[in-house]
């Protein structure tokens, strides 16, 4: 595409540039101010009272926050590992094979992406409540909502996202490469190990980072399926916010934000690492 075709002129160029500046300002000003206030030595959250690291110190010393952070990390790691394996397998199945029930599977895989999270939260709540009482009454097994139910729910939506990302990568990869490997004496497993997997790896890493982010961010679903002692950081913070703002929340928020941004940058690096060479 030559740039001359896309040259903007005069007034429209100014208007568009101004709009772009506005959009970026809209995106980043609130974040920047939040970061700023997290270093403010003032009990009121929106006022500058001089520089301090007290709120971050409080973040580090608050046992409840630390506990919730621990739960978040554990849940995120477990759900990411499992959903990456299952999501990648289903992406391969859908993109490289034809089998009975494929259309239903495809639809089932899409649903968690488009369903509103409140609905999904309700679904999981009812399911686990029913399931737990069922297990109790039939098998006499006593379990309660906890880290396991949270992780199980997170996996349920993460599989789909991982599968979409990996599928996109697979679709962009020339199938002839796999044929070439087989023509060069590679078995099916060797073909996967030496050709398919290295080429979809950026997609798998991208999918993993997405699953990690989704798990670390989720409030609504987790709130419904978490039991006592399995409160994740976002759920804990959400609870705090509903009671009122505080500089401590500012600090915790900035830490969560930093984690998100780190993950985006990592994933964009992963995509770029071997970007555009899959075809």
């Amino acid at each position: 595409m030559s740039s001359t075709q896309k040259e903007l002129r005069g007034a429209s160029k100014w208007a568009l540039s101004a709009n772009a500046v506005l959009v970026y300002l809209f995106f980043y000003a609130p974040i920047a101010l939040l970061v700023l206030y997290s270093f403010s030595d003032d009990e009121l959250v929106g006022r500058w009272g001089g520089f301090t690291l007290d709120w971050y110190r409080a973040f580090g010393e608050n046992d409840e926050v630390q506990g919730a952070l621990g739960v978040s990390i554990r849940v995120a790691i477990i759900s990411t590992l499992i959903s990456v394996v299952l999501g990648t397998m289903s992406a391969l199945a859908l993109e490289r094979f034809r089998f009975r029930g494929q259309k239903i599977f495809d639809a089932l895989l899409y649903l968690p992406v488009i369903i509103p999270d409140v609905t999904m939260a309700v679904m999981m709540l009812l399911f686990f409540t029913q399931g737990i009482s069922l297990l109790d009454s039939i098998l006499g097994i006593q379990i309660s909502k906890g880290i396991a139910t949270v992780a199980l729910s997170h996996i349920a939506f993460s599989i789909s996202f991982v599968s979409i990302v990996v599928r996109a990568r697979l679709a962009g990869m020339n199938e002839k490469l796999e044929e070439a490997a087989q023509d060069l004496y590679a078995s099916k497993w060797q073909t996967f190990r030496h050709v398919t997997f290295p080429l979809i790896a950026p997609g798998v890493i991208g999918g993993a980072l997405l699953a990690l982010t989704l798990s670390l961010d989720d409030v609504v679903i987790t709130q419904f399926v978490a039991g006592p002692g399995s409160t994740t950081l976002p759920v804990y913070v959400f609870g705090l916010i509903r009671r009122g703002v505080s500089p401590l929340i500012n600090a915790v928020s900035v830490v969560m934000l930093a984690a998100s941004i780190l993950l985006v940058l990592l994933s964009s690096l992963a995509q770029r690492a071997r970007g555009g060479q899959a075809t």
């Binding site: 002839k176 490469l177 044929e179 023509d183």
Partner: protein
């Protein structure tokens, strides 16, 4: 190669017997028989969708035949997966592994067969030099030009010492000049190695210049197998006549063994094996026709001549191409352009004639053009 000693099934490089491939209701390859001799440069030619690529893929093992026998040097291989067959393929657009260096690409097949890293690397480097890419071992395929990629693809296949090398439109992605260069190179490489090359192309010129023998396919059927001369001079039907080179196809009816009658009643000398009354087509190459004034037709060509009017002339530098209307039947005539040659303007009445060995009668059924 002097006389064509196409071997028997036992020592044919590839022997295909009654092979059919169906995809659902579509018959991609329809009951074909084909033998490719050891050391032969063999082309499969046809328009896209004719089944040539499917045939190649069946030899490679990338598709299994629905039925029929497929032998490589006497061994039945029809149901073997690609990694168990002693053939290698140069893929269309090469399919080089983008995440591996040139060296790793070329060494891949040897490693998969269990060669040690060291042996694979040294054999690969040797092959890389043979295709004149020495010094480029560390590069990634994306850092190579189209021609260089094509050499890597060749090296990657040949390093495994395949009994048959398969090439799927190997030159399709190259520009004209490079293509002509690679044609010569492929040909000499094949002679040097003595391995059978089987290549698929839709470009008849490429097939004619490079191959010992050519198979012409259409709609899943194998229409004719033969040398370039055989296909050009003695096509078996209208499709082959029209597909290989340019030709005039004129509807006619057989009168007797030596004579046919054209649509306008003109009788033409054309030896043919068909019973009287058969509808046939006469194939007449534009370059084998001579043109002159209506009264210039030499006596000995009286029985292989027509009279008509020039409707169009195109000057191509080395030749003139005339369209001559004979009772509204347009015929193309090509003459060498020399400074002294007479040019007939549109509207001129002319006579055209040809040697009786130049016309060729094909059955009229199927494949109109």
């Amino acid at each position: 190669m002097g006389e064509d000693t196409v071997g028997t099934a036992a020592d044919a490089a590839v022997a295909i017997q009654g092979v059919t491939k169906r995809f659902g209701d579509v018959v991609a390859v329809d009951n074909i028989d084909l033998e490719i001799a050891d050391g032969e440069f063999f082309a499969m030619l046809g328009p896209s969708g004719c089944g040539k690529t499917t045939t190649l893929r069946m030899i490679a093992g990338l598709e299994f035949p629905t039925e029929g026998s497929l032998k490589i040097f006497g061994d039945e291989v029809g149901t073997l997966p690609p990694n168990k067959r002693p053939v290698n393929t140069v893929f269309q657009n090469y399919a080089l592994f983008p995440h591996m260096s040139v060296l790793d690409n070329v060494a891949f097949g040897l490693k998969m067969q269990g060669a040690s890293k060291k042996d694979a690397a040294s054999a690969a480097s040797e092959m890389i030099s043979l295709v004149q890419l020495g010094g480029m071992e560390k590069r990634k395929p994306s850092q190579l030009s189209g021609g260089q990629q094509q050499r890597v693809a060749l090296a990657r296949a040949l390093v495994n010492k395949p009994k048959v090398l398969l090439l799927d439109e190997p030159l399709g992605a190259l520009d004209l000049k490079l293509r002509q260069e690679m044609q010569t190179e492929l040909k000499s490489l094949q002679r040097e190695l003595g391995v059978s090359f089987v290549f698929v192309t839709h470009d008849q010129e490429e097939a004619l210049t490079m191959s010992d023998r050519i198979a012409v396919m259409h709609d899943g059927e194998l229409l004719q197998v033969g040398t370039a001369e055989e296909l050009y001079d003695r096509p078996v039907n209208r499709f082959v006549a029209d597909f290989i080179g340019q030709t005039n196809l004129v509807d006619a009816t057989v009168v007797d063994d030596d004579v046919i009658a054209l649509g306008n009643g003109t009788k033409i000398m054309a030896p043919n094996p068909y019973p009287a009354g058969t509808k046939v087509s006469m194939s007449l190459r534009p370059e084998s026709i001579s043109i002159g004034g209506p009264d210039d037709i030499p006596d000995e060509f009286e029985q292989t001549s027509l009279r008509g009017e020039v409707t169009n002339v195109t000057y191509l530098g080395h030749s003139h191409v005339y369209t001559v209307a004979v009772d509204w039947m347009p015929l193309e005539v090509r003459t060498n352009a020399t400074p002294t040659s007479v040019v007939y303007e549109p509207g001129s009445q002319v006579g055209i004639w040809w040697d009786r060995r130049s016309d060729w009668v094909v059955p009229d059924e199927g494949y109109g053009s």
